[in-house]
Symmetry: C2
Subunit: 155 residues, 2 copies
DNA sequence: TTAGATGCAAAGACTTTGCAGTTAA
DNA sequence: TTAACTGCAAAGTCTTTGCATCTAA
């Protein structure tokens, strides 16, 4: 786990007077592993069980709630029909998502120009922005040109 | 109901060989009333029951699925924890949403500059965009300045 | 006439919660 | 020591589905 992440977690636990327990450590390790993948509750549960098979879904959901409320995890909608969680907002607070409709890969991107435009529009409407998110669903050019992309071979 | 909307609905029903039944008429009327409000399944159910009290939730969900698949309704996430449905993409195919965190009001906006930027970013990443959506959560300046906004009076 | 649509109620998927026992600080 | 936390299982919420019946075309 990235030390910056560890620091933010510790700060949250101190700020809210939360206890660092074994079950929570396991969930944190599964959620904030170096890979930085998005996950659903069920996927996190699987990861947590690999670390320690005694993990419980109830505690996992309770911990997810704490982390989302503390701003360390963001709930995102990747069009799966279930809530996904994104652990990358600590290191990249302003990123957005592009979802490949061919292979379901999720690509994170940041763009200053868009961010500025969003702020302008918000001001013009008479508001001050708090959270901005862009989701682009798209199709992979590479798949169409070469017949394959990261996860798929065209039939 | 707007005639353009009626036309699109009829086209969808013909294209897919669907039957125009009484229960479906009621749901369509509730979903595509002139007001153009967003709604959850439960909210639509209430509206439908006002038109005809015999409405059934099963048929309503089945019809919602048809309309979403047909592109007439978009599923959107307004941060309520439940899926909301947006009937305004027929008349405004490229709009986005600003959600007021003070009063929960949802404001729709369109912006050509952002749309162009989104396309550029998508191309640069090697994709062709299909659906783009922006969600901005914001706080009402008016409430902070004058102590009141559309739905709230500051305490 | 008949394939498609309906309504009910049961099942399913996901998430939350009450409670008795456990544990970090 | 004790307030916070845990795991279990039960309950809750939202959505889907099987089936017998009905109906638009």
């Amino acid at each position: 786990m990235n030390p910056e992440v560890r620091e933010k977690i510790d700060a949250l636990f101190i700020r809210k007077g939360l206890r660092m327990t074994k079950p929570r450590e396991i969930i944190l390790e599964a959620a904030f592993s170096e890979k930085g993948d998005h996950f659903t509750a069920e996927e996190l549960y699987e990861k947590a069980k690999e670390i320690d098979s005694r993990a419980s879904l109830a505690t996992l959901y309770r911990t997810l709630t704490l982390l989302v409320e503390g701003g360390l995890l963001h709930e995102i909608d990747l069009g799966k029909g279930v809530t996904s969680y994104d652990p990358n907002f600590i290191e990249h607070p302003h990123h957005n998502h592009l979802i490949c409709m061919d292979c379901s890969e999720v690509i994170e991107f940041e763009d200053q120009h868009i961010a500025v435009l969003e702020d302008c529009i918000t001001k013009r409407l008479g508001f001050s922005p708090t959270t901005k998110s862009i989701q682009i669903k798209a199709k992979c050019d590479k798949l169409r040109k070469t017949g394959s992309c990261n996860n798929l071979i065209s039939k």
